[in-house]
Symmetry: C2
Subunit: 649 residues, 2 copies
Amino acid sequence: MGSPDEITQRVNFTTPRSFTTILKSDLKETFLPDDPFRQFKQENSRLGRIKKGVQYFVPVFEWLPRYNLRMFRYDVLSGITIASLAIPQGIGYAKLVNLPPIIGLYCSFVPPLIYAVFGSSKVVAIGNVAAVSLLLADIIEKAAPHNADLTLYVSLIYTATLFTGIFQALLGFFRLGILVDFLSHSTIIGFMSGTATIISLQQLKGFLGLKHFTTNTDVISVLKAVFTRSSEWHWQSALLGAIFFSFLIITKEIKKRKPKLYWVSAISPILVVIVGCLFAYFTHSEKHGIAIVGELGKGINPLSINKLNFDSEYLPYTLKAGIIAGILALAEGIAIGRSFALMTNDQIDGNKEMIAFGVTNIIGSLTSCYLTTGPFSKSAVNYNAGCKTAMSNVVMSLCLLFVLLFLAPIFKYTPLVALSAIIVAAMLGLIDYEEAYHLYKVDKFDFCICMAAFLGVAFVSMDIGLMLSVGLSVVRALLYVARPSITNNGKIPNTSMYRCMQQYPTATRIPGILILQLGSPVYFANSCYVRDRILRWIDDGQQVSNEGNDIEHVILDMGGVTSIDISGIEMLQEVRKNIERKGMKVAIANPRLEVSEKMILSKFVEDIGKDSVFLSVQDAVETCRFTLNELKEKKNSTNNLESVLRSYI
Amino acid sequence: MGSPDEITQRVNFTTPRSFTTILKSDLKETFLPDDPFRQFKQENSRLGRIKKGVQYFVPVFEWLPRYNLRMFRYDVLSGITIASLAIPQGIGYAKLVNLPPIIGLYCSFVPPLIYAVFGSSKVVAIGNVAAVSLLLADIIEKAAPHNADLTLYVSLIYTATLFTGIFQALLGFFRLGILVDFLSHSTIIGFMSGTATIISLQQLKGFLGLKHFTTNTDVISVLKAVFTRSSEWHWQSALLGAIFFSFLIITKEIKKRKPKLYWVSAISPILVVIVGCLFAYFTHSEKHGIAIVGELGKGINPLSINKLNFDSEYLPYTLKAGIIAGILALAEGIAIGRSFALMTNDQIDGNKEMIAFGVTNIIGSLTSCYLTTGPFSKSAVNYNAGCKTAMSNVVMSLCLLFVLLFLAPIFKYTPLVALSAIIVAAMLGLIDYEEAYHLYKVDKFDFCICMAAFLGVAFVSMDIGLMLSVGLSVVRALLYVARPSITNNGKIPNTSMYRCMQQYPTATRIPGILILQLGSPVYFANSCYVRDRILRWIDDGQQVSNEGNDIEHVILDMGGVTSIDISGIEMLQEVRKNIERKGMKVAIANPRLEVSEKMILSKFVEDIGKDSVFLSVQDAVETCRFTLNELKEKKNSTNNLESVLRSYI
């Protein structure tokens, strides 16, 4: 590529795509990034397409026809295992949200059936979860404390669940899965750890057999409540709790050492409950300060449609609880569905999952269930137990049906301290200090986001902690693009590559030419910065080359600029004018499709000249060098002419 | 570059920069993008540095020592010209904010003096502005209507001005100029046009000589107020207004055709005022329904420090008004300073300008002035009149001093309709339909942002319109990076370049290798999308090559990825595992400094292997091809062996 004449390939400046084409492509990438209709395009017959459509929206039709006995064997086993987990967790988490314990059992009967029909994950096991339970209680208690009017409280929880369901289904329907993306990994780690901390601390009530307790969730209120009531402590309860807790921890340790024995850890909670029930029944433990769950009732879920409360007085609370808890539940459910899908090599459509969770919660709220999602612990057990399809949810549901119809009264003797031990044992696994340390090492800002969620949840309240952390994440997201790095590139010896001179110290400046590499979208929020930074590089470059040759050409490598808006284009115009006023020339290298389209439409290409836009930095450098040499030669020849003339005089 | 052995240059994986180095560099780019301390580094002596420091914070010391008589001649001329504009605009805009007209004159006396000392722009002329005036009135009227208690109203305006000043100075001090960047060009165009529309419509009150009027600013309320009071219309007033307005428009037209005659348009407002005063004085126009300004008083600004009102009842209003108006005033003042600086080839430090505006407003609020900034019209006239330094502001200030001391009582006869004509004539230039059309053509989303501001301001209220538009801009900014384009690249014939196959139809796929080019920062908000999109490209690629050879290698070109966070790195890990599970291999090409640092820290490089990270796509392709060929040869040789063996049997 000696002279610019040899550059045969130029930037493609044929007519830009039409507005509708761009809009269609943008909308598709924004709302249908996973291209869900691809499968329909492959079907030729109309019937085939209808079949695919039904299968798409109701996945049960996809896997049921291919279902066989071998799969069923696995699903029965895993279904029974998760049912044994669902009973203690259901009761325990229902206590966490201050609901009658039987509602926790209801939650593992109807919702899994619905999810089995609409859900697309094979592994997710439906049930109530700790963090969301506490969040619901946190918000609704402010509107109507459960100990003042339990009926009202329960009706508000159902209403919030209905709102969650509608909200989730709408999000999915309008394909706004993008919202869940804004709960970053760091936020979730911090939030989960914070929640696990306060939930564990709250269990001190159960461990110590306290009757009165604070409704606040923050660490300080809880510790105060515990230590100002030391006269109410019951050592019997604490001892029993310690025994149960040790047992659970030991089984977890066994699972860790021998992953094949996962079932020991999986059935240990139900064992604790059974042993606890027997112990309480035979020792009349209530008299010794060991409180029990108390009457549970029996029978399947009653309808709760008549209990919904849309009173304008409570609407702000139920709506807020529904939406925040809904996003959080989605984040957990979808994240888990996705991670297991990666392990089983399936594709999970987040938006479709949202609809599934939404429908599950809507129907749940009408049948005396509160908010459910795909909890991590249950789903992991389900996966380990070898479940093959969503049939394991159906099996769990049938087990719960049996329990509700016949066995529920037995669980009345469950000691509260047993539930506390089960909850704390489950929560400890969620405090992910190793991951937090990893964050600290790799990315300090991510660590701050994580700690904001953790400390906010632990010391203020759950919603504040969550919002603080999300707010920080968004600020960071904006900063990321408000200050995109612009590097000064040099030529790497013996190649035709131009790379950042800070990153590659061997790269060398090309005399007379400044090569700047832009990145990120260029738009209103960073256009001023980009301009200032470019002009600063030019100033720096001029100072460096003050003794030798001045900068004559500025090449802007736009290969990393994914999009540009009107402010960005105007910034480029300004920069161009400014550089030209300084007597230098600008060249653009490798604009992407979106950028070159905007450059054509805004007439920037006309102003700068098509000859100044190159396909690669190398081409631009060659051409600039050629011009530089020509200039030098001209100067030389003028000098020669002068000397010749002088010699004649 | 035949075989991979020839690749001598590899990605630089020496130890990453330390955390403090990165933090320092990030903080510097975020808060000091213009590197204001550069000039100090060049000074060697301590005295020189102190001198530079004082000059940096108080720019008057920079230009005053070099000031000469020739400059002064120009500055006197431009100072008198802008003073002639300051009188009618001052009175008119003060009426807009429902303040006594003399306060408008005060605003052109003290604030320009302060700005002349602290401001770094040579061209900006200080004064009150229409949009901000109306915004202040809009918010403060809700707290305390001016016709109920004018003293309270005035004191709240002063207080809001003080808050504006403090807010602006703090923004500048903490170098948060970045906030102003979020007012995009499109927002400003829409907001200005909307404001100009409602201000113009409000002048119907003056044109028609109405006594009673609505305090609402939206188009519908104003039109209703005008047409339900048709019995109060005064044709005399309307006629006089039409004459004045035509005169102003004609002088503007003259300026447009012959830019040298700019002064005709510049002095036309004061001419209109003088003629109006004479007319009103001699015809006793008040009796004919042509209202006049009325008693103005005389004398210089009284102190207003005792009038500040920090009553908690009004604090939310004054704070809100101060902050919103402050950002808006900054956006106008800084944008104007910057655009003129580009024309005169100066550098304007936005953060320093903020401090200057802030100090100006703080002192202004203590000396009976309300919010001032650098209005566009005045500054443009100043520039056209050939001002050389901020001395022109001092000259204007002295002119105003003279007016306040001696001439103010004369202006009592100014007909209100003359002021209305001046305001409307000034506003018409702000309705920038051409730019809006340009936006429509180049970028439809920018157009929507612009229209949101315009329609919001015109039909709802100024603050709602502004926030709506800024909100949309931020959503767009997030979407920009939430859905970064990922292109499928092919080789451009006869070169070693790999470019988007959609953009360059001649680019061709390389058999067995998929080259994907990423862009934008990769982080939590887009990591899920990026993963899905990469996996979709792989699926698509496999379908295309179903008949021929399968994809064996996936090359991710990371050259455009300016930064990555922990979610992004984890996404890459997931993608890597997923691809490897499908039996393909991943290679990374050209990671930038920030990205390769994170890759090292998170051990991603160890997992993928240093041999799979290349400096360029070309290197990666060569290596992949080499492996492919080796595989093929091996297969061939096995086939050969088999056939040889078979022939033996």
